[in-house]
Subunit: 416 residues, 4 copies
């Protein structure tokens, strides 16, 4: 790496304000060097050691300019695997190992137990019900008459707008534009498919072009912001809950009664009771927009591992767990995710460990046809969420189920 | 590491179902060995290479049993730093460098720009308004008369319950128990302070003990679940929005007009306009529980870097950005976080890179008095959120502010 | 009326349980007689006098079987009028007097003041942006594969379903069916236009027919309920907020600065400040689905007066007030109602006083073309809401605006 | 009444703008005369007849200045009665007849059926869990440090503030002041009990006094608005949902299985299924803040009949229906109303028909001790809501329950 003198000289310059740390990539001509120099300057400046942050196999020349700036090294997040998990989806079919990057003890073990119960019962069925990415700019017009005029113009010129929109990317396909008028404020929610990319940047760029086209032809409309918060990115929101963003996915399984007792140490009836009183009734009383036990845990762990946009865990983890006892006494359980935002290309997916995790799932890179890999990935995520949810509900339900314990004598349940 | 033969033998056994992958820690007697063995088995099984996941400096004997199971290696997430950021808080005072683990290009640069504008304007003021962790079990009683009886009993025996609760931990201090009755369902929301730990596990354990005590003395009350979803953990929720969970924090700054123009390339009036029409009005129309541009980005990046529970980004990132132009033409901007869940001990905070990041911020480990380090950390997070928010609002506002561009000729704005 | 003996005899029988009070219409063969008999029995039974309830001009033979059962008389609700209010809508054009049935002192006076300010400034512009009624049954299917199958079947057979749906009414026109799948639960939101009727009963009947048709052809689908609470009737709901129910209407006005000062005793800037800090920011912090000062007051008063379904005030009153100061220093103010449910035929609109109130507005009965009267009515309601909102915001803003008071010396403001 | 000449003269003056209609009370010195004169002018002006509006027994001299202005007569709303309903509450004990003012056909009949089933099963148990009225002004301070200072000052001077607050009314008792800080905005939620009045005006007046006291001692705090929308009045809101406003009430009943089959034509299991899939799951998916079938119907009908503030149906009707099958196969059903705002004095309660309806319920006027009458009333409302909810759920459930029909041969169910 850089020699001590060089670092010291840069440090002195930085102290004197002659250079900024973010200029180091340019000054040193190499982002790996810059990363290390910055880290060492920081060590010096703060009088601490950043030994582990500096231990990595990433090539920062592939990172800076795409994924991160002002780099000093990496965070090492432990990856555990859960599985195998049998998935019978439209896109995902077969056994999967789920890579989970987490620091929450017992999470991987719990998901693993859920995978085991699902797989032993014939696997999870999954469906992608909807697939799109959105962006919603805000405009200001003189009055509501102009707002209506603008909306009508957009309807009439949808084909032209679509051409402009789609001219910015090979994969972006405009589905529709939903207008919202609040007095003289106009919000336009652009919905588009984006192939295997999560697609937020793609849709942002395309919306920017479309918006400029709209503005040119409607000069009375004043641009306020390219994102008017009706998109909605990285915020819990009823518009995503109701209209969807990313993939809308359902996963379900029927857990055989004996599997439930043996592997989950509880009865289907108990799991149903916990689900209704906790995930439905408790959530209702608390004013949640999410009716599940811990979708966010599973989704965050997969997102970190696979290079997804982790801030999107916020809306991706919204969803409903539904459980009931079947006529045979088995457990029917499903999870519904209205707004799961995932991609297998773009963002952090090309980074080394992230790509390897996508490879573990067999979904690295673009699919054929475009979009099929991201949907396969979405189905796997949904199945993993089902596994994690099932296991935690069972653990909660089992606390007092002394009967099953005594009958089966399976010893201590791994509790969360 | 393990020799090839040993791996192969284990692989064959695993294939034959004679051993489970999660048993390897025990079989091999060392979690580093087990981690590598599992990774190699997975490579073999899937026919892929996991070279980067296997590159780490973590000691997995410190990880397994505390933070992760069934480990195969680590995710490497790039860390960039933003700053220095001047913070004038109750706990955090001085210049801070913010470590951000992210794969979203331009995020660190944008936050960095915000830090620069805030610091040039005299820094961010921060306040921790509230501090507590919660857990809310659900019970079932025969009827509403018993529900009322139970709630009255709890009120009358609060001191005893508190003793039992606090007997489980040196740091847990019970504040109050808020009851919610829905017919014959009773939810009890326990609120407690937890020192420098984020405190969810601490409060869960303490609530479990308190609940058992309550149940013993009120045998008509049937335990349903230790977590009844009124806690609310890892779900967007109005109960956390209104009552708080973790730290309730405010950060504010007055950005001088000249700093705004020079560093942020726009006018205070423009930022205010974008904030009101996007963060307030757009969010309102979309049905968001979050009235900001991208709090979740900053919080997710800090959480990953510092070993926080990343799934808690969901509620920690809820909040409001408020901006107005002062009488002098400067920009007043504040961010309010009702429910920021952070800790400097416990969870992932002891992991090597995570602890180093806490050291960068000067908040590693427990504080004196207990809780002061976590509050200091919360203030820094809030100030960083303010920086990120300011910068993105400015970027959105600047699109059409050609005047400032021409006047100042500062070249291209780093756009997000 | 009935003679005392007859009443006494019925009373004795009722006491002995030989007849039920609701049977009196049939027994006496006249609902006016039955109404009076029931009232007198109640008087006797309870030992009270119901003199005023018995004072009415309604013919109960027109009421029972259509609007009410077990009748004993009427509630007399005072009606005040506000206006004239100048409306420049698509449907409503000219001066209107607004009948308001209320018992809240100062409400009519306040709305009246708002009307005066709006009319003096050139009137309110109004637009109906959307118009439909909805009903959403719930079905249960074996699994999510069947849920998808059902949804696909409905899409493919939309024209046939539409025929069945529309066969039940001359006015019901099916627009679309929005499916929501949650595991094996399927909710179908039927949207239809309903002419001048508010249309809930019309759409319920039509949905029932359509649903039977769907069930016949998809025998795996089990009927759960004709209304699955995604309609959503008489509940505050984000689905109505985002997708609309009834009329989506906007009203706006520009209040001249001098009119604002003279009639409203405050400055445009003050009104804008109250609107932003109260209606937006305060509502946001409180977790409201409604961002206004008191839409519900105006809507409830009109609904009672005109025979609307008063329980629908719940969702009809959801909405946003938006205000800003124009470049000339005037006040721009608008109100947006996503979900205003009104009709000029059906329900209580044919009742005597109710019909007279509709006549005051010039909207009694069906329009030509169908739907135009209800839309005209919706625009008038929106304009009245604007007037009421403007006036209250001004009153709140004026508290400290001593300057205007002193300058103008207009004496005491009618405060609310 | 007035002679034709007098009316004509006033009409001419009104047309010439020499007098305003609202001045007639003063000009004629009698509000009954003024009411009739205004109505006749309106008839003349619009060329219509308002015969029924002019038919009333109200004395408008008791109305104008208290409940309505610019009066022209009354709306006649049919009143039906449901009952008897057996209530076993803390305050309400015995048989009650429920007066319902409505124009929605079948509503009274349906509630009546519910009353019958509940009474036959031993009655409804009710509890008032909480009781208070709220008002939340908004202030602006220089910065968050001042916001904290203000909040601390209020805590320290709570006793003095309470004295000022309570000095405005014999009945207002301040419970607490909950502060909300958003940057430099401070909202203060005053909570108080208000005896038998619904209490909004009482608390508004008391808060105004308290606020002036606070402002005098904290001159840096700028008054923005006496109502900052965190009160929250007449808007659906999570703050009322979670913290309550008015009475928080629960009503429950156990409906015997045979009663359920005989009177409600369905099985307990069916009602539970409809409740869970419709009121819970459907509401969840739609984003409702209300988890019931039609609370608003019953509450609106009682509110109109008894002189309550009808616009408050919005939040008063929020609530949860919970149902389950007991071990004996009976139906347990409960309704929970977090925010029921009712009073037996003040507002429209003194008007003739309204007072008579309160007398039917035995709750007219103030109670002894103060507040007991309003609580009794709240319990009766809750029990009536339970009856209405039970009946509609049964009707929805019965559609396909051919078994019970055939077995019992009870003929056609009154359907809604």
């Amino acid at each position: 790496m850089e020699n001590a003198n060089e670092i010291d000289e840069i440090f002195q310059k930085a102290l004197r304000g002659e250079i900024k740390l973010y200029q180091l990539d340019k000054i040193l001509g190499d982002s790996n060097k810059a990363t290390n120099a910055r880290r060492k300057i920081l060590e010096k400046y703060l009088g601490i050691k950043l030994r582990h942050i500096g231990y990595y196999s990433v090539d920062f020349n592939e990172v800076v300019g795409r994924n991160c700036e002002n780099t000093i090294g990496v965070a090492q997040i432990p990856i555990g695997i859960a599985g195998p998990l049998l998935v019978n989806g439209q896109y995902a079919r077969g056994m999967f190992w789920i890579p989970l990057a987490t620091t929450e003890g017992a999470l991987v073990a719990s998901i693993n137990r859920g995978c085991s119960a699902i797989t032993a019962s014939g696997g999870a069925r999954t469906f992608v019900l909807d697939d799109k990415m959105t962006r919603a700019p805000a405009l200001l017009v003189p009055d509501v008459a102009h707002a209506v005029k603008l909306v009508n113009w957009i309807e009439e010129h949808f084909d032209e707008i679509k051409r402009v929109f789609e001219g910015t990317s090979r994969f972006a396909k405009l589905i529709r534009i939903i207008p919202y008028i609040i007095g003289r404020n106009v919000f336009l929610r652009f919905e588009a498919t984006t192939g295997d990319a999560m697609g937020m940047n793609m849709v942002t760029k395309a919306t920017d072009a479309a918006l400029k086209f709209i503005e040119e032809h409607n000069p009375y409309a004043k641009h306020i912001t390219l994102s008017g918060n009706m998109c909605v990115d990285k915020k819990p929101s009823y518009i995503n809950w109701l209209l969807g963003r990313g993939k809308t996915v359902v996963a379900e399984a029927i857990i055989r009664r004996d599997v439930c007792i043996e592997k989950l140490k509880t009865l289907p009836e108990k799991i149903v009771e916990v689900n209704i009183r906790k995930n439905l009734l408790g959530s209702i009383r608390a004013g949640n927009i999410s009716f599940n036990a811990h979708f966010a845990n599973i989704i965050a762990a997969i997102f970190i591992a696979t290079g997804q946009d982790v801030a999107q865990v916020v809306e991706s983890s919204m969803g409903i767990t539904w459980a009931e006892v079947t006529e045979n006494g088995d457990l029917y359980i499903s999870i519904t995710l209205p707004s799961l935002e995932v991609g297998t290309v773009g963002g952090g997916t090309h980074l080394p460990t992230q790509r390897e995790c996508l490879e573990i799932l067999g979904v690295a890179g673009g699919g054929n046809p475009p979009g099929s890999n991201a949907r396969k990935f979405a189905e796997i995520v949904a199945a993993a969420v089902l596994a994690g949810e099932l296991s935690l509900l069972a653990a909660l339900a089992a606390r007092h189920l002394t009967l099953a314990h005594e009958l089966l004598g399976r010893g201590k349940i791994k509790k969360r």
